[in-house]
């Protein structure tokens, strides 16, 4: 169980990016976090995983708790050790390393059992086993995404933060990634899924949050969000309103209430 209460994040001492975000990720669930570019999704993840520091960001208010233990004061290595893993946006595999070396780095915080951990990841991603000696930078986009996810899983996180795993992947690969996320979840890892691809995210999540301008503006079970008329308009792109550019003024006006 991960709970975020009233989190406020400031970059460079002046730029207020998160303006009191609260959300909770119950154990064993998949929770989706949606939002347009610049809504603060990645910033929220950075705040959770302790990576704000190197981006000159700072948590100025609020708290993050993992199993009732406040973790917002921890640094990144300590948070990973506490059981929160993150797959960064854009995969970020160590491109000069082999697949296996990448996975070994993922198990850095693990005390013993590294070989078994890597073997489990190979079970989940058989293609990685085939390519274990290959240089990671030469893998395809989908394989790199699997590697990035596998690398985070070697550390056996209790909760996994996924930042846009579908970014830049072909629809068929996205479907594959989606199945893998479900599989990871079924193996007992709680998932917080940040996505632009709302259809994909909401189809596997139990609960969804929508962020805009550094705030959570909507918070509903995923099924209800999928049916929500506004969400369909703004995020799923299959509503009746936004189909014509003639209605663009109307679209903007309607969107304003959300923020």
């Amino acid at each position: 169980m991960l709970t975020v209460k009233n989190l406020e994040v400031v970059y460079n001492d002046v730029i207020l990016v998160l303006r009191g975000v609260s959300l909770s990720v119950p154990e064993g669930q998949i929770v989706a976090l949606l939002g347009a570019n610049g809504a603060g999704k990645t910033t929220l993840l950075r705040a959770l995983s302790g990576l704000l520091d190197i981006h000159d960001g700072e948590i100025t208010k609020g708290e993050v708790r993992l199993r009732d233990q406040p973790i917002h004061t921890f640094d990144a290595p300590k948070i990973v050790a506490a059981g929160l893993g993150q797959v960064l946006e854009g995969r970020r595999v160590f491109s000069e390393f082999t697949v296996e070396e990448n996975l070994r780095v993922g198990g850095h915080t693990r005390r013993g059992g590294l070989a078994e951990g890597i073997e489990e990841v190979y079970e989940l991603f058989p293609v990685l086993k085939e390519r274990r000696k290959n240089t990671a930078g030469y893998l395809s986009g989908g394989e790199q995404q699997m590697l990035a996810m596998g690398r985070a899983l070697v550390a056996q996180p209790e909760i996994l933060l996924l930042d846009e795993p579908s970014l830049g992947l072909a629809p068929r690969i996205v479907a594959q990634i989606k199945d893998i996320i479900v599989q990871i979840n079924e193996r007992g890892t709680t998932v917080l899924l940040v996505e632009q691809n709302a259809t994909m995210a909401l189809s596997i999540a139990q609960h969804g949050y929508v962020m805009e301008h550094g705030k959570v503006v909507m918070d509903k079970p995923a099924a209800e969000l999928l049916d929500d008329e506004d969400i369909r308009d703004f995020y799923l792109g299959r509503g009746d309103l936004a189909t014509s550019y003639r209605d663009i003024k109307h679209y903007k006006r309607r969107k304003r209430w959300l923020s």
Partner: protein, 298 residues
């Protein structure tokens, strides 16, 4: 032919010193993207640690070498902690200038300790020489070559198989991603400096044991490692070794043949030869022989 082989052998021995120092530069550069100009001072201090261990604590050579490595590593960590850690995130140029300051400060302490006399570390077996195929090499130089080979092999194994070595390489590639895997980046920086300090101490100990001893101007030797890393590529470990050996070889071969072949180049051209080689390599391969192609300003 014997003359040639003899000069190659001497070149290898001298090149081993350069290779050890060059490895230190590469270690720090890879981890922090800073060229550390403090390596000469670390070498001098390492040599003096060994001198102190042999003359004051009266240890034999090999234990003294171990003491020097440990003390050199600690000194490296101390430099990182006090002078460089507070500057994390500042432009690398600033950091490079700070290392020049560190170099001067450390050398002042070292010079105070040394005084005007050369300090040398006694090597077991004194000036015995090994003779084979008409060649001859002193035991110190042979020891130096063996120690360098073992050190390089150990480092290569460390970076390939050890968890910490892998974490250091990961940090060098991408700090944020390394952090997200739970790697303590600051510790990795400290470790890079510790390894660089230890390597410099090995070089310093052998400089004090083989040549005329450690003197106030011996630090200049360490500057020869700069052409070595530029020849090999700033961020390549094999490059540092090959670059170091290449500089040693070129120097010793030039010293033997240049006075006969090209006397018009004048006396002591051997001292310039490594820089000439560096110049040639830079013309052909601007990133060094094994360096990563990337625009880096230092």
């Amino acid at each position: 032919m014997t003359t040639f082989l003899q000069s190659v052998l001497n070149g290898f021995a001298q090149g081993s010193i350069y290779a050890l120092l060059a490895l230190g530069y590469v270690m720090i550069y890879k981890a922090t993207h800073v060229i550390s100009f403090a390596q000469p001072a670390l070498m001098v201090c390492g040599g003096l640690f060994a001198y102190h261990a042999t003359s004051v604590f009266e240890l034999p050579f090999w234990p003294a070498l171990i003491v020097a490595i440990i003390a050199g590593a600690l000194l490296g960590m101390l430099v990182e902690r006090l002078a460089l850690r507070p500057m994390v995130g500042k432009p690398v140029f600033t950091l490079a200038i700070i290392t020049i300051g560190v170099d001067i400060v450390l050398r002042i302490f070292a010079n105070r300790y040394m005084g005007p006399d050369p300090r040398s570390v006694p090597y077991p077996g004194g000036s015995n020489r090994l003779e084979f195929w008409g060649l001859s090499i002193s035991h110190q130089r042979l020891g130096l070559i063996v120690v360098t080979a073992v050190t390089v092999a150990a480092l290569a194994m460390f970076f390939r198989y050890a968890k910490t070595g892998l974490a250091m390489r990961a940090t060098a590639l991408n700090q944020e991603t390394a952090l997200a895997q739970g790697i303590r980046v600051g510790t990795m920086f400290a470790l890079a400096w510790a390894i660089a300090g230890g390597l410099a101490a090995i070089a310093g100990t052998f400089v004090a044991a083989t040549g005329a001893g450690m003197e106030q101007n011996t630090w200049i030797i360490a500057l020869k490692a700069l052409p070595a890393i530029i020849i090999g590529g700033l961020d390549s470990i094999p490059g540092a070794v090959i670059g170091g050996l290449a500089v040693g070889l070129v120097e010793s071969i030039t010293a033997v043949y240049q006075p006969d072949v090209a006397p018009w180049l004048g006396n002591n051209f051997a001292l310039v030869a490594p820089y000439a080689l560096m110049f040639l390599v830079l013309l052909v391969k601007p990133y060094g022989l094994f360096g990563t192609k990337e625009v880096e300003r230092v």
